[in-house]
Subunit: 690 residues, 2 copies
């Protein structure tokens, strides 16, 4: 046994290099397929981003970074690529999907460029477009589109991020002068973290509590000039947020207002207006629904962060898998040849499930973008469509932004010390994307929005169903939980499982079974939560609060499970569109790896709730390790090449082929030395000979 242990050196040994795949995937076709409906917009944007003028320059200090990115925005204007989302009447294209697709691809150049563009056109401009009316469009949009008027989107305050409805800034209507008067009543109500606020913004869309005739009508948006050539206008002040963890090409800052007057017409009045005499009116009677409708028009931020996370994840995996396919470390069977690190099981375990997740994210994003375009083009824009879009964005954005950070980090770690150098981009991208998980809706808050929707759907389903159906459902779902905890249901499944391991594995290899497991988990969790929360209806506010809080963590987990199911469904649906046999086979393995990884992550839930026997549960992990990883390994490089990045997008020294060249040079050196008899004898082999 000691021999055995000694033969595992500090580093386990890999299998021999995998045999060349029998057939390869159609990388070119797959690349097109991944680009999706808005392939043309993506390609155009990628082509533009090959210009080094758009690339992040790590050598610049804070001020210079900010100046550079402002200049890049001007170059974007010159290219005409920022007009897509704006009305054709103003020179735009009314192309909402194409606009977001194009915008997401900016990430390959510099996430600061993406987000500063997002501030200018996706938030500041979009607020004027979606919350304003014709007069605002005509008056304000041309300057916004041309960047003549850089602006801030002044919603968040130091004291209120997630709870926008509770912001402290007020806009009080003065009937005498027909103006709104903006005020920041205390320090916590300073606007904060606003791009363009520290330096470049000369106007802002300011969100404030609209007060007229002694009544607070809730949060509305106002167009407010903030700076001229002499700096802040009267009554306005601010601070620079300074250096951040990333995105330092953007001048985030704070703003405050004291008695700042704007004309009545500067209220962006699409969803609520104030007449000259101070009378408030709105087509939406419920203040709550009015607020959520206004906020809902700004969903594109979440949509584009989801897509940008997909692009960054693809880039990270392209770098790590390219390097992992060239880098060699430690010898195994052949002492003269070191092993390629992607041939190590652990290396595959670290990267290939993340590759599967990235494909799932990519296909899911395509569906989100389609829903977004449907709503904003008006093609599919019913209330239900809008609600679905908002829920889908709230579900996918948390998963993809968190995944992007995990993927960038794992890519960094699998590239070792080289991964830490700025020249290889992974640390810089991760630093920039860090904030994606908490801005445009904190991920934990967004998942609670999704949970709310799931509970609503659950209750609706039974309001319209007859009592028998509901009883059956409850017995099948909520009832099952109680039964499972006593172990009865599992016992039954153990009997059904009595068979070979192959049969256990077979159970989850087909899509229908994966779907059943993933769907069942969501439905069971939601049903259980609904059951537990039912008591809140008759409870005191304090008790109801305590009850909800005691279930908060599980609410969020149920929402995440739902979002993962959506990703899995999107991946599975995408398989239908693949015609090439080998490509379909490999992508099906990759989808299986995604599905199996989700099930493996929540394996305890499936066991506790009697959905999987111990035998089947163990088979999940074995199948990943013994089948899926070895099958996918030979295709890993093709699967990242399908992302279609060109060297100008990658710009990572270790993914350039330099590592392969170094390996080849070293191997050739030793070969030549051995051939010439110049290589010294190793002391160890000398001793062995004695």
């Amino acid at each position: 046994m000691t021999n055995l242990a000694d033969r595992i050196t500090a580093e386990s040994r890999p299998t021999a290099a995998p045999a060349a795949p029998k057939g390869a995937i159609d990388t070119a076709w797959l690349g097109e397929y991944l680009l999706g409906t808005w392939a043309a917009a993506r390609r155009e944007s990628r082509e533009l981003m090959k210009d080094s003028a758009f690339h992040r320059d790590d050598s610049l200090a804070l001020d210079a970074q900010r100046t550079r990115v402002l200049g890049q925005l001007k170059l974007l204007v010159d290219s005409g690529s920022v007009l897509k989302a704006f009305p054709s009447g103003l020179g735009g294209n009314d192309d909402h999907g194409g606009n977001i697709a194009s915008f997401e691809e900016l990430v390959t150049a510099d996430p600061s460029l993406q987000i500063k563009s997002g501030v200018q056109w996706g938030l500041f401009g979009a607020a004027v477009l979606h919350l304003g009316t014709q007069r605002h469009h005509e008056k304000f949009l041309p300057g916004i589109m041309s960047l003549e008027v850089p602006g801030a989107f002044a919603m968040t305050e130091t004291g209120h991020g997630s709870d926008v409805a509770a912001i402290g800034t007020t806009a009080t209507y003065d009937e005498a002068t027909r103006e709104f008067v903006l005020d920041t009543p205390f320090r916590a109500a300073w606007k904060d973290y606003l791009g363009n606020a520290a330096l470049h913004g000369i106007a802002a869309v300011v969100f404030a509590q609209l007060v007229t005739k002694g009544v607070n009508h809730g949060v509305h948006a106002f167009y407010v000039p903030i700076r001229d050539e002499n700096g802040f206008l009267d009554g306005i002040g601010g601070e620079d947020d300074g250096l951040k963890g990333g995105l330092n090409g953007i001048d985030n800052g704070r703003l405050h207002f004291h008695g700042v007057r704007v004309p009545r017409e500067n209220l962006l009045n699409r969803y609520g207006d104030v007449a000259a005499d101070g009378t408030y009116s709105s087509d939406i009677q419920s203040p709550g629904r009015r607020f959520f409708t206004m906020i809902g028009t700004l969903v594109q931020g979440r949509v584009s962060l989801d897509g940008a996370s997909v692009v960054a994840s693809k880039l990270a995996l392209f770098i790590a898998i390219t390097y992992g396919s060239q880098r060699r470390q430690f010898t195994a069977a052949d002492p003269t040849k070191e092993e390629v690190i992607l041939d190590y099981q652990r290396h595959q375990r670290r990267l290939l499930p993340k590759l599967a997740t990235t494909y799932a994210m990519s296909f899911a994003h395509e569906k989100l973008l389609t829903a977004f375009d449907g709503v904003f083009s008006g093609a599919r824009a019913s209330d239900a469509d809008r609600e679905d879009l908002e829920t889908l964005a709230a579900a996918l954005k948390p998963l993809s932004t968190w995944s992007a950070l995990e993927i960038l980090q794992e890519a960094r770690e699998t590239c070792g010390g080289a991964g830490f150098l700025a020249e290889n981009r992974l640390t810089q991208l991760r630093a920039d994307l860090d904030i994606y998980v908490t801005f445009e809706g904190d991920n934990n808050v967004l998942l609670q929005l999704v949970a709310k929707r799931l509970l609503t759907d659950y209750s609706r389903k039974f309001k319209n169903a007859d009592a028998g159906a509901m009883a059956g459902y409850v017995a099948g779902q909520v009832g099952a939980v109680a039964v499972n905890r006593s172990g009865l249901r599992k016992l039954a499944q153990n009997v059904a499982d009595f068979g070979s391991t192959a049969r256990s594995v077979g159970f989850v290899r087909d899509a229908a079974s994966q779907r059943q497991l993933l769907t069942d988990r969501v439905e069971t969790m939601v049903a259980a939560l609904a059951g537990r929360l039912r008591a809140a209806q008759k409870a005191s506010p304090v008790e109801a609060t305590a009850l909800f809080n005691a279930n908060q963590n599980e609410l969020i987990e149920a929402a995440a499970a739902h979002a993962e199911l959506l990703q899995w469904e999107a991946f599975t649906e995408a398989l239908d569109g693949i015609t090439d046999g080998k490509t379909a086979e490999v992508l099906t393995w990759l989808r299986d790896l995604f599905g199996f990884s989700l099930i493996e992550k929540n394996l305890a839930w499936y066991l506790i709730n009697g959905r999987l026997s111990a035998q089947r549960a163990a088979a999940i992990t074995d199948y990943i390790d013994d089948r899926l990883l070895p099958r996918l390994r030979p295709h890993a490089l093709d699967l990242v090449n399908a992302f279609g990045f060109e060297p100008e997008h990658v710009r990572s020294a270790i993914a350039s082929g330099a590592e392969r060249d170094r390996q080849d040079e070293a191997a050739e050196y030793f070969r030549a030395r051995r051939d010439a008899g110049l290589e010294p004898i190793a002391e160890k082999s000398l001793k062995n000979k004695r």
Copy 2:
């Protein structure tokens, strides 16, 4: 049901603020306890680090950061604090534990300061101290200690990080001139990522294959001058690694050598020497053991990264929990008062288990540092002690460095946008600590070292045991796996579990049960691996390689499980030293949270292997959510205050009380407005009245 869903807004509602704890922990005493054996050294170092001259300055560009940190090292020399580890004969203290403890605390000022100090005194200096002999100590150490000679530790090459034994640099002995000739044969053999190499180093300890009389005796270390006032010496060249993901106060770079000659005496010859005539000699016959002995003397890098990760984790949680205790967001039962965010279950779920992990890491590190001091002081320095120290360091460093990144990230996310600002330090600390997971031994490689030791111990155990004991062990362990998969063992446990939920929970509440579960998992995994790997003894190299690789992931997981058990044991042992009743009670809850979290993380394993019934498994999560988090919540602030940081160590705007002041100001504003009847009526309440 719709009402129910509506009452969960986007954000679940918290419980009312927890009642004041019945009694509080003894924070001052606990603080002392946490400082441990080398409390005096830690306090002295912390006192020194209050000086702003040592603090990271985020405003500096790359060159200025490097210059500043070099200056800080000179200040450290002036303070006398760098001498602890060096021989008393040369003005040092021979205080190995105190030296590391003191060094770890530098992290509060700037991780670059910690790591640049580590390069100079912990690697470059320590290599001369531990690999050199009296002549080297007298000649080289004074200049190293005084920083007159800044130096690089030139081990890693671009082509070889983890596999140091395979580096390409050669040092060939020239009998004619009695010199070693250093050569870099190809690009992959350039030394890389070396602190002090880009700018400040004027000497280096260079690791190279020692060749004499046509025999390669493996990797040895040489003292090599590299620069004078005119730059690189003849035959030496290099490159700057440039900007990195963090630690930019350090000038990492590359070095290469072409025909560089150093006197024979510059071989650091403690473990291997070359006589004037070129004859090689060593007290250690096995080249493999010799190599690992040399490398083993450098274990202090791993020890100190473990400790530095503890310090950074404490700082992160101090910031996040202080902020979480002051920040309010969303109203629940009382519409005029927003809830403290740490009262939300999810917020507790995100932070409190990480607080438990940090305490476990802290107590485990104390044991590691004690083992380190025992070996290096000579007090407990047998071969077995050294081996244990190296295994312990290889086990704990991966867990603590990974945990530190997770803790810093969760702290950053729980502080939202504020957490992203450099002024609040979390992103900057995370960026700096990122590399800790792959340098001084890549975490995945270190855990394989631990796995090797576990397998060796396993095999030793049975070599000395009688056949009956082994058979029993195998039947009880490996055998159990086979049995469990068929479900028989679990069936038996289900019967034993037949009882109340309370009894299920009680099962894991006592330390003995937690220990049994954690230990059993390690032993069972190791036994199963040993069983599966047994076939490798009779296999061909190619087959054996494939077999090991097919088990690599599980080997690493077994090692991690072992390391977690060590942390848990250290925490449990530390409880014995607590005399105050309330402090002991709260720390026991915290230890339980740590233990339960480990079990929850691996719940599927316990279920599959029949160690926990479904009922007991479900009780684990319920007990965390329903008992431990609510019990610990009122003590969270005390538990981070016990870390003993002063404002000069924290330097985070959001952990300064500023948030509380803002909240108070806002609340007072609204209270006064309501009292004066100035607050406008909300449209919603107006409608309700009609």
